[in-house]
């Protein structure tokens, strides 16, 4: 009965949408957005035979080679990949992976985004999954509410469309998912606003989706100066050469290494192979990986790496040791930054910065990242590339109060010195300077660790692995130490971030429901701050009032770090905590790993 009623509702909505479109000028794939009012001079011609061959049966081209729908939208490689997949899954398109790759490549290069346009939504393609919870789209709250009811705002802000195209996108959502009308696209039934708004203008009686279209077509139009400038500046990128890598992985610390990039095929192919070697400075663990990558739109690096390299015999695409790479290359082809990541929920990742290695010495960072004023002399490892192998202590400068006692060892990648910080050394972050070297590194000088924080402050893990197809989503925490700074007060602007600190980890109950005993069911946290969630599925041992089969192992808990700073006499150790939500699996995976394979 419920389903019958639902189907009736669906038919009604489809008819409603269709009639609205007919009233607006009779749209079909054959007539395209021109019929709903796109100015005739907009639209980007499609000049790729493969794209035309596969798309033209539905998307007719006009006399200028502009194809309906396609020519009126620009987006990321992931956006185009999603579209091609939808055509295959839902619209009966049949194409080989090689052809799909060519189409996605062509569309991303010629109907892509300029670097400035892709920047704000980088979190989306870098798969910083929980980030969308923290990201707030402030330009239009109505638009944000309309879109984020189902998905991240990142998907939206990484698109550029004509007004007609934005309208068709709304129509597509209403046709595919009829319930969106009642969820976010339209206001609930009831009286519309009648009184004038505060500024005296007539009340805004538009539905949320109408407000969204008005905003999106103004904020994210097809034609922008950024894109016009980028089209003129874009050139086949020459990235081959040696690059230095500096990164940070939560829980494992700073990463330093290098990446050798070679062109695959011709130098202008925009495809590359990589050999990466990097070391976790904290533990000394060294990782070597082979990879390959495609550079889309002249700057969007999409790659993957593994051991053996992706595509080689014995390499598993899922569940193997694949790490994906999403980077944005600067216009100068000398810097790139982004994220390398893995995990079923892409929850494990390194924030990566690449710098091309030239003739000059390059400093990337130091370990440890803090020095105790008045403490005993200690080794400081300076990581970099092309570092001089003949170094005198005087070549390394850390500012007043810090003495470089001697050089322990010097290789092109790592310089080890012993330093001592005087008790009177001024606390604060100070640059580490190596004569004649470029690059930036800094070290924090402090007298005491005054408080700690847990990073990230709020996090999410997903139940899984209970004999189902749904994988676990893990969560890594780390404790970060702080000094109060000159004002002696915690949580003020002059506090000094002292970096990672060793901690003892535990879970504590976050009380939202009495006696639900979340801590016992959600999972476990190890002494490295790594949380492993429990299995999915109903747990018969966990009964609630109305669930005879038991409920899931979910819950909300605190991840608590207890820190006893070295050498500091403290009656009670420092404590900090982060909110951890352990929740149900996501039953669909909207992800486009293919763009980097």
């Amino acid at each position: 009965m419920k389903r019958a009623r639902f189907l009736l509702g669906f038919v009604a909505v489809v008819l409603g949408v269709a009639s609205a479109l007919l009233a607006a000028g009779g749209w079909s794939p054959q007539t395209g957005p021109a019929a709903v009012g796109a100015p005739a001079d907009e639209g980007i011609p499609i000049a790729n035979a493969t794209t035309t061959r596969f798309c033209a049966p539905c998307h007719k081209a006009d006399e200028k080679g502009r194809m309906t729908r396609i020519s009126y939208r620009r987006t990321t490689p992931e956006g185009w990949q999603q579209t091609v997949k939808r055509m295959v899954r839902l619209n009966g398109l049949k194409m080989d992976p090689a052809d799909a790759r060519e189409v996605v490549r062509y569309l991303s290069d010629h109907l892509g985004l300029a670097p400035e346009e892709a920047k704000e939504g980088a979190f989306e393609v870098e798969r910083r999954t929980p980030s969308y919870l923290e990201y707030a789209y402030t330009a239009s709250k109505d638009t944000e509410k309309t879109c984020t009811g189902c998905h991240s705002m990142g998907r939206v802000i990484l698109q550029r469309r004509t007004k007609g195209e934005w309208e068709l996108l709304i129509a597509l959502h209403r046709g595919m998912y009829p319930l969106v009308d009642g969820q976010a696209f339209r206001d609930p039934p009831g009286p519309r606003p009648v009184s004038a708004s505060a500024d005296g203008r007539p009340p805004d009686t538009r539905q949320p989706m109408e407000k969204a279209v008005a905003h999106l077509s103004a904020a994210f139009p097809l034609v922008t100066p950024e894109w016009s400038a980028w089209v003129a500046a874009m050139a086949p990128p020459q990235l081959q050469g040696r690059w230095a890598l500096a990164g940070y992985q939560v829980g494992k610390g700073a990463v330093f290494g290098h990446v050798a990039i070679a062109a695959k095929g011709t130098p202008d192919s925009g495809e590359f192979t990589t050999e990466s070697t990097y070391t976790y400075a904290r533990t000394g663990e060294t990782v070597t990986r082979s990879g390959r990558a495609i550079l889309y739109t002249g700057y969007q690096w999409r790659g993957s790496s593994g051991t053996p390299p992706p595509g080689a015999a014995g390499w598993a695409t899922r569940g193997g040791d694949e790490w994906r790479e999403v980077l944005a290359v600067d216009r100068d082809w000398r810097h790139a930054s982004g994220r390398w990541f893995t995990g079923s929920y892409t929850e494990i990742g390194i924030d990566v910065r690449l710098e091309r290695v030239g003739a000059d010495p390059l400093v990337l960072g130091v370990e440890p990242a803090r020095l105790d004023a008045g403490g005993s002399a200690r080794e400081l490892r300076i990581y970099g590339a092309n570092l001089p192998t003949r170094v005198a202590p005087a070549d390394v400068t850390l500012g007043p109060g810090i003495t470089v006692d001697r050089v322990v060892s010097a290789t092109p990648d790592q310089l080890v010195v012993t330093v001592s910080a005087a008790r009177a050394a001024t606390a604060g972050r100070r640059p580490v300077r190596l004569t004649a070297a470029t690059g930036e590194a800094s070290v924090a000088v402090y007298t005491s660790i005054d408080y700690v924080k847990v990073s990230p402050p709020a996090a999410m893990a997903y139940l899984g692995g209970g004999g189902s197809q749904f994988p676990k989503g893990f969560q890594q925490f780390e404790a970060v130490a702080y000094a109060n700074g000159a004002d002696g007060k915690p949580n003020t602007k002059d506090d000094i971030d002292l970096g990672w600190v060793d901690a003892a980890w535990a879970l504590e109950e976050y009380t939202t429901t009495y006696n639900d005993n979340d801590r016992e069911f959600v999972g476990t946290i190890d002494q490295a701050g790594f949380f492993t969630p429990n299995v999915d599925g109903p747990n018969p041992k966990r009964r609630v009032d109305n669930s005879p089969r038991g409920t899931n192992n979910w819950g909300d808990v605190w991840a608590v770090a207890t820190v006893q700073p070295d050498g500091q006499a403290r009656a009670t150790p420092l404590k900090a905590r982060a909110f951890l939500l352990v929740t149900i699996p996501t039953y669909m995976v909207w992800d486009q790993p293919e763009v980097g394979r």
């Binding site: 639902f6 509702g9 919870l133 009642g182 609930p188 899931n552 669909m588 995976v589 992800d591």
Partner: protein, 110 residues
């Protein structure tokens, strides 16, 4: 209604509520302006698939498998749960009751 007169205070309040233009009351029998919405717990706590209105899990369906097929049939969570209209028309064919055979449910890559 116009031939009926309220004879106690509660009835008077009902009449007042239905005739006061500022307080709009929609009965279940009035034609709905939106398509069918599955009456599941997720309707009440809307902010996100992973959390309830308070940002926790206490208000989610207990267990989620007891409600998951309703989410599917109603396409209520099209980005988190497969929908019957588009990407997974036979998602429920592997098992009749998710709460019993939840391990048979497919993970969908749209």
């Amino acid at each position: 209604m116009q031939h009926l007169r309220s004879i106690n205070r509660k009835a008077a309040r009902v009449v007042g509520a239905t005739t006061d233009p500022a307080r709009d009351v929609l009965g279940l029998q009035q034609p709905p302006l939106v398509p069918h919405i599955p009456i599941g717990c997720t309707l009440v706590f809307h902010p996100g698939w992973e959390t309830d209105a308070a940002g926790g899990t206490a208000g989610l369906c207990q267990p989620v498998e007891g409600d998951i097929f309703d989410c599917y049939l109603g396409c209520y969570w099209p980005a988190q749960v497969p929908d019957q209209l588009n990407y997974a028309s036979d998602w429920t064919s592997a098992c009749a009751a998710a709460v019993k055979d939840w391990q048979k449910i497919d993970l969908i890559f749209p």
